[in-house]
């Protein structure tokens, strides 16, 4: 039996899908024309609701027309690849930063805002990652620290994580790092503004399974600051990160059995 879909049927399906995405209706046979618009409306509601709840601050920042135009264009020109609708906002973010130069001119921090809002979702939803075995007792300086693996660090040009999106202007342009992680047990997403030094420090902790004492040594060379000063200045940050469950504990003999 020939199980191939005929070109005609395929085109009919494609025309209907195209209408839903673009609003342009190309001869679909037997269509009830005064009803077909409900499909378009339903799809747009689903898409718009899901994008608004993913990007509440962006939605608030943009003029209403700008937002609806953007959603409309996204659906028309972008072929959504996510089966899961909660992942679709990532595609919206990618689409916007690659195609919306005018909006980005008007809102120079739009990229950063979309990235921040998406990363919150990504970290909140990410699959569980078991951390390395750790002890809660240990030596801050000489033991290797175990980090909570459920996190992301993003680099921003504008401080959208600490300043209202309407107050940000060109003078805020700089280098900002944000640590976004998921607390174990409560599953809450936390945001931590990181200085360049602390961003560097976390990267070292991740890459090189080394204790802080070695990392301060390397920091001394990189930042040309005395390591005793670095150690002193890092103490509060490291203790905060322990208390706030980004640093979970210590890799030491007691648990390496």
């Amino acid at each position: 039996m020939n199980t191939q879909l005929h070109e005609y049927t395929r085109n009919q399906q494609s025309s209907l899908a195209n209408y839903v995405r673009t609003g342009t209706l190309n001869n679909v046979e037997g269509l009830t024309e005064n009803r077909v618009h409900y499909y378009r409306k339903l799809v747009h509601n689903v898409l718009n609701d899901s994008l608004q709840s993913a990007f509440p601050i962006t939605y608030d920042l943009l003029e209403e027309d700008e937002w609806y135009d953007l959603v409309e264009k996204f659906f028309r020109y972008h072929d959504c690849q996510s089966n899961e609708i909660w992942k679709m906002p990532y595609e919206f973010y990618q689409f916007t930063i690659s195609n919306e130069n005018n909006l980005i001119m008007k809102y120079p921090h739009l990229n950063d805002l979309l990235l921040l809002e998406w990363t919150e979702i990504e970290v909140y939803m990410m699959e569980n990652k078991p951390p390395h075995k750790f002890n809660i007792e240990g030596d801050l300086l000489n033991d290797v620290l175990v980090l909570n693996p459920e996190f992301n660090i993003i680099k921003l040009k504008y401080p959208v994580h600490i300043k209202g999106s309407r107050e940000i202007n060109k003078d805020d342009l700089g280098n900002y790092f944000v640590l976004i992680y998921r607390e174990p047990k409560t599953f809450r997403v936390q945001f931590v503004n990181l200085s360049v030094y602390f961003a560097w420090l976390i990267a070292r902790l991740l890459e090189e399974s080394k204790p802080l004492i070695d990392i301060y040594e390397a920091a001394e060379e990189t930042f040309r600051v005395d390591k005793s000063i670095l150690e002193k200045n890092s103490y509060q940050f490291i203790t905060d990160m322990i208390n706030n469950k980004f640093i979970l504990g210590f890799k030491n003999d007691n648990n390496s059995k």
Binding site: M1, N2, T3, Q4, L5, H6, Y8, T9, R10, Q12, Q13, S14, L16, A17, N18, V20, R21, V28, E29, G30, L31, T32, E33, R35, V36, Y38, Y39, L42, V43, V46, L47, S50, H78, D79, C80, Q81, S82, N83, E84, I85, W86, M88, Y124, M125, M126, E127, N128, K129, E150, R182, F187
Partner: protein, 281 residues
């Protein structure tokens, strides 16, 4: 009466997840979820899902397989579905007789497949392939549709042909039959009589919204209306075997007691129709 529920499940929603777990107002015999919302996640919702899955049998009702699409089947996605079905020991996996992806783009809605012979063969072949891959039968749901597209047969003929050729089960959505009968002006009971009722594995019930004098939209956002309960009673009396029944409520979620009341009404109907179960017991 609540404790006597033997057939009715609920579509599990994030909107009422906490209350559902804490207060036990709803007493379903199973819950239904969409794999797209619960697969491949961690953190808070995974934790909730695991709690639910510990306490209730889970059925799965997919949104994005797009079995009626001209596009190729997404085997990668289906591989994840297969794992999920295994991990949570899910007994029923159903999907819609419609398409939700076309020209390589997901649409996040269910569009009607043209009721045509080539579409019957195409869809049936795909259902068979999916069933082979999953090593189980799946149930295919009759969907509501607001306009026909290039039809060369009736909806009932289309459903019959697909179920026969694909050798799959049928997920009978009673509300969708009511909605389609109203929108396309046919008799719901006669329509039901034409369906392969011996293939029904599972039933959906839901509310809808009338948006025009001659048009109902299948919103799952309102209580079930009496004529749909009546059609449900008609249906369960015709079925050759007892099947699980789901209450779908996706929007406009009321007090859970209200949902429980709807579930109780349905359970009562099932009991009346299937009371031989109790006579033997």
């Amino acid at each position: 009466m609540d404790n006597g529920n033997k057939h009715i499940g609920i579509g599990f929603r994030k909107d009422f997840a906490e209350e559902f777990l804490e207060k036990k107002i709803l007493k379903p015999v199973f819950v239904e979820v969409a794999p797209e919302n619960w697969m491949g996640i961690g953190g808070y919702w995974k934790n909730i899902f695991d709690k639910v899955a510990e306490q209730y049998p889970v059925y799965m009702h997919g949104l994005s397989l797009s079995i009626g699409s001209p596009d190729p089947i997404d085997w990668n996605f289906l591989r994840k579905v297969k794992n999920f079905l295994k991990t949570y020991d899910i007994k029923i996996y159903s999907e819609h007789l419609s398409y939700a992806k076309c020209d390589n783009a997901h649409l996040y809605d269910l569009l009607p497949v043209p009721f045509r012979w080539d579409a019957v063969h195409h869809v049936s072949k795909r259902i068979r392939e999916v069933q082979d891959f999953l090593e189980r039968k799946i149930a295919i749901e009759n969907v509501s549709y607001y306009t026909p597209v290039a039809a060369e047969m009736t909806e009932a003929e289309f459903i019959n042909a697909v179920v026969a050729e694909a050798d799959c089960n049928l997920l009978l959505d009673v509300n969708n039959i009511y909605v389609n009968a109203f929108n396309h002006k046919y008799n719901a009971e006669k329509f039901l009589d034409q369906l392969p009722l011996d293939r029904v594995e599972y039933i959906h019930m839901a509310g809808h919204e009338q948006v025009e004098p001659d048009l109902i939209i299948d919103t799952h956002g309102e209580p079930i209306i009496i004529p749909v309960y009546e059609l449900f009673e008609y249906t369960v009396n015709k079925l050759p075997k007892n099947v699980p029944v789901l209450l779908e409520r996706d929007f406009n979620i009321p007090e859970l007691a209200e949902l429980q009341h709807e579930m109780s009404l349905m359970e009562n109907i099932c009991r009346r129709a299937w009371n031989h179960e109790y006579a033997v017991a």
